[in-house]
């Protein structure tokens, strides 16, 4: 994961590599993810999240991501 | 003697190729020599899209623009790529909505156009390209506005009237800015 990846304790996304396809948004049945209004350097809307409390680290979003730019973390 | 070698650049979906074709068609209808070449090659997807348009009075040696007299730039990566390539004394048209208005070159002329915003105001962000072409042509004066308007319509034959109308509006607004 690139250094400038945006991290949270449950999830990290490499925004610059996100292609804004929205498949992760669709995959998350808890509706935690959404497309940002902002653009990355490539000119694409990247994915972002607001409240991750409900995130169960289920990895579904990461599993569908074609760019493999999502990392998921969980309490061990 | 007219001899313009123009790069139009942006990202895919901004109608870059269409913009070049409008310019080329208009020039052809004015009986100019003209060539148009989409960039094709290594990087097909992602990255910038751009095209080469050459408008001249004499036979054109090559459609490949390596030393542009003008660059019409619609987004930041394209600015990075082409701003430095324009020949000395050349013309750079910037879509400042996306590129900002920093001018890195002291030896080139700039036209700043808030094109995306203008297009949005006209009701269709996809007309950004026409605003830019209008601005370029308004400044460079190698094809008249009317020729651009009818070329735009010709190439869109079958499209909705509103779109044609918005394009016309966009060309005009651009032209005004370019013309100064």
């Amino acid at each position: 994961m690139a250094k400038d990846a945006v991290k949270h304790d449950k999830i990290a996304v490499d925004r610059e590599r996100c292609k804004g396809c929205g498949l992760c948004v669709l995959a998350c049945d808890r509706k935690i993810l959404a497309m940002s209004k902002k653009l990355n350097k490539k000119g694409l809307h990247y994915v972002e999240w607001n409240d991750l409390t409900n995130c169960k680290s289920c990895t579904l979003c990461a599993i569908i991501c074609p760019e493999a730019v999502i990392e998921i973390y969980k309490e061990s | 003697m007219i001899h313009e070698e123009i790069i139009i650049a942006g990202f895919g979906g901004q109608g870059i190729l269409y913009a070049g074709k409008v310019l080329a068609t208009a020039a052809m209808r004015e009986d100019r020599q003209v060539t148009y070449l989409p960039s094709y090659g290594a990087e097909v997807r992602g990255g910038t899209a751009f095209c080469h348009t050459v408008i001249a009075e004499e036979e054109i040696a090559t459609p490949v623009v390596t030393d542009p007299t003008a660059a019409v730039i619609l987004n930041t990566p394209s600015k990075e790529k082409f701003e430095g390539k324009v020949r000395k004394g050349g013309l750079i048209v910037l879509n400042t909505s996306l590129t900002g208005d920093i001018h890195k070159r002291a030896d080139a002329a700039y036209v700043d156009v808030d094109a995306t915003e203008i297009a949005e105001r006209l009701g269709n962000v996809r007309a950004t390209n026409m605003v830019m072409v209008g601005a370029f042509a308004g400044r460079a004066r190698i094809v008249p506005l009317e020729a651009l308007v009818s070329a735009s319509a010709e190439l869109l034959h079958g499209a909705k009237k509103e779109i044609i109308a918005i394009n016309e509006q966009a060309l005009k607004e651009g032209w005004k800015i370019g013309h100064g």
């Binding site: 292609k19 929205g22 669709l26 579904l60 599993i63 569908i64 | 097909v44």
Partner: protein, 252 residues
């Protein structure tokens, strides 16, 4: 907090050249995960096709070869016969495999070559601009079927795994898809079985993966996965069409 999902070693750190939402990226990832889980990275040779995945070697962190369009099964055959100790897979698109490479895939399957084929079926020629493929649905509009594929002129889409599963040389044949996480997981399982069939020397193995090409379907990525879910699977049913891994593997 422990990382429970991240990039696997067989996947390089390079950003892909694929369009947003393209299925190729998903397939690459699960493929690489399988290779790592089976511990095969250092003995694997992958073959990238001529197609959108032509740059496979940029993304796969193991030995990779290119092959002429459609000939990956022949190249794979040459490799595996020459070096049976290597794990050889061929990655192919539907134009590559089901059009120009028809003879090579059929004969590799029939000979029971101990290779694994990852077949990404997106129903179009992606790399060349979205032409009709042998797997294009009837009625589907493409660059070269501007009014939709007509059965009367160009026949029906070819169902590749159904066809190949008929050869005795074929040990494993399945069709999966990557239109949602559950299917992605199934895809990974199928790929794992396919590699296992090779490792166990049972025979030819293939996984056909329905994959979205939002660009040449003229859809957003989200529409494209819905199209797979709602339309593509109707004609291309998902499932396992042949599986001799259990039976023969125990015998090996």
């Amino acid at each position: 907090m422990k990382k429970i999902f991240g990039r696997t070693p067989s996947l390089t750190d390079a950003p892909t050249h694929y369009c947003g939402g393209c299925g190729h990226g998903i397939v690459h990832r699960v493929l690489c995960e399988v290779i790592d889980e089976l511990g095969l990275r250092e003995s694997t040779v992958g073959i990238a096709p001529v197609g959108c995945a032509v740059l496979g070697y940029d993304y796969w962190n193991f030995d990779v070869s290119e092959a002429a369009h459609g000939r990956t099964p022949a190249v794979a055959t040459g490799m595996k016969r020459a070096r049976p100790d290597l794990t050889v897979f061929s990655y192919q698109g539907d134009g590559d495999l089901a059009a120009i490479g028809t003879a090579e895939i059929i004969h590799a399957a029939n000979r029971g070559e101990r290779i694994t084929v990852i077949f990404v079926n997106n129903t179009v020629y992606g790399m060349t601009g979205g032409q009709m493929a042998p797997t294009t649905l009837v009625g589907q509009k493409t660059l070269t079927s501007p009014h939709g594929r007509k059965f009367e002129e160009f026949g029906e889409p070819i169902r590749v795994v159904e066809l190949l599963s008929q050869f005795r040389g074929t040990a494993y044949a399945a069709r999966t898809s990557v239109h949602n996480p559950v299917e992605v997981i199934k895809t990974k399982k199928a790929i794992k079985k396919a590699f296992q069939a090779q490792v166990d020397g049972i025979g030819f193995s293939i996984v056909e993966i329905l994959s979205q090409c939002p660009t040449y379907w003229g859809m957003t990525p989200v529409q494209s996965v819905e199209y797979v879910r709602d339309e593509l699977v109707k004609y291309f049913p998902l499932g396992t069409f042949k599986d001799e891994t259990g039976a023969k593997a125990s015998a090996v």
